[in-house]
Symmetry: C2
Subunit: 246 residues, 2 copies
């Protein structure tokens, strides 16, 4: 018996998610390469017990007063009450291993809650792309890749990741893709993959981070397979789904 | 004195328009290559007096009973009370010259009303791309290219047009572009422009139209500069802005 291939769909912004999703049984892969999902995957790989995503600084502050470790920043500057900003490099095993971390991300938290109708919500980044591909291949579900974008706008870095992940899923032979966003992502990824750091020079977010002096994470953010974890969101917490080596 | 370059921004869906627009003084170019804006540009080039865009079949029916010519279809089939479907080929000079036409397009009408904060709203298609470029170059305004997409989803055909128009505007030396959507559109247009009809084979809407037997308009819809008009929407009516030869 030939099994029907599962669908991969790409959504370029949380603002379009409602219109993209038409089926009931799918996994959402949330993507925010610069920088939330790269940071979250790093923290999980370095042994954080769980991450509580929150949407506001007020909620982060409240949870800090309850004794949680808190990561939050505004325009690239770590807030005074916080333990960390949002740089992936802060989340070392020494700093967060075995602890529960409150992570403040307005867009990310909104997107996570928006995607709650999905069977599962996984956190995707270049740094865990192979582990993610392998895990998705093992599930009997369609996949929707949800790009966070920037303030709801289309962004290149999340789109390149969507193209790279779509390509890997198609290469397994288990998936098909017939949406225009997936086609465009694939074509842009093919253009970029020979020199991703060169290609990403034109991305608006790359320039924003440079201006803020936060672009040190860029090479790491586009480096494939630095870790082997697949964090998933259970409606409240983000935790490691697949135990692996970091 | 060196004049500051004007901005070109691309919006991939009406669902993202609210987040894209941050400045006050801009022209919106509405795009729906397959098929609304190609059809509207054709009708204006063939001498229609004015077009009244309406969002519902009921409103179209009501205006028909008041004596207007009406174009409307559902899933590619012309409705029984209508004079025309939505094929550009129906709107000959004999059929619509000097008349006012009611044109039913749910997405298009919503997008037109959404864009009412703009200084002007122009109707764009490959068939009037040079006339449009020339007109935009002559205005002292930023430009937002608003793709209609399909049911709010990103679509390839509108994106290719956005890329082609962005390229032409940048080539005038009067414009700059620094949004990621414009970069992506430009790159996709560069991939496609050598063989647009070949590239568009993978577009979902191309397959929908083929299935409905409505794909006869495709070569025309991607043919540059068939006409020299620039239709604009004044809040109620779409009319010719620039008189020209068809």
């Amino acid at each position: 018996m030939v099994q029907e291939k599962r669908s991969v769909e790409v959504c370029f912004s949380p603002g379009l998610f409602e219109d993209v999703v038409t089926t009931g049984d799918f996994i959402v892969v949330l993507v925010d390469i610069l920088r939330a999902t790269t940071t979250i995957v790093t923290a999980v790989a370095n042994g954080v017990e769980a991450i509580i995503p929150v949407a506001t600084h007020d909620e982060a502050r409240r949870l800090k007063s309850e004794g949680f470790l808190v990561a939050t920043e505004k325009d690239g500057v770590q807030l005074d009450f916080a333990d960390f900003g949002n740089s992936a490099f802060s989340f070392t095993r020494e700093a967060i291993g075995g602890r529960t971390l409150v992570y403040c991300t307005t867009n990310g938290t909104r997107a996570l809650h928006m995607a709650r109708g999905a069977s599962s919500i996984a956190i995707g980044a270049f740094i865990n792309i192979s582990a993610l591909t392998e895990w998705l291949a093992g599930q009997q579900k369609d996949v929707v890749i949800l790009c966070s974008g920037w303030k709801n706008k289309f962004c290149l870095e999340d789109t390149l990741f969507a193209g790279a992940l779509t390509q890997r899923l198609l290469d397994t032979g288990l998936f098909r893709s017939d949406c225009d966003s997936a086609s465009a992502s694939l074509d842009l990824w093919k253009l970029a993959e020979g020199d991703v750091l060169g290609y990403i020079e034109k991305a608006a977010q790359r320039h924003r981070l440079k201006k803020l002096g936060l672009d040190d994470v860029i090479p790491y953010s586009f480096a494939c397979d630095q870790v082997k974890v697949v964090p998933v969101f259970d409606g409240k917490l983000i935790k490691e789904r697949v135990k692996g080596r970091s």
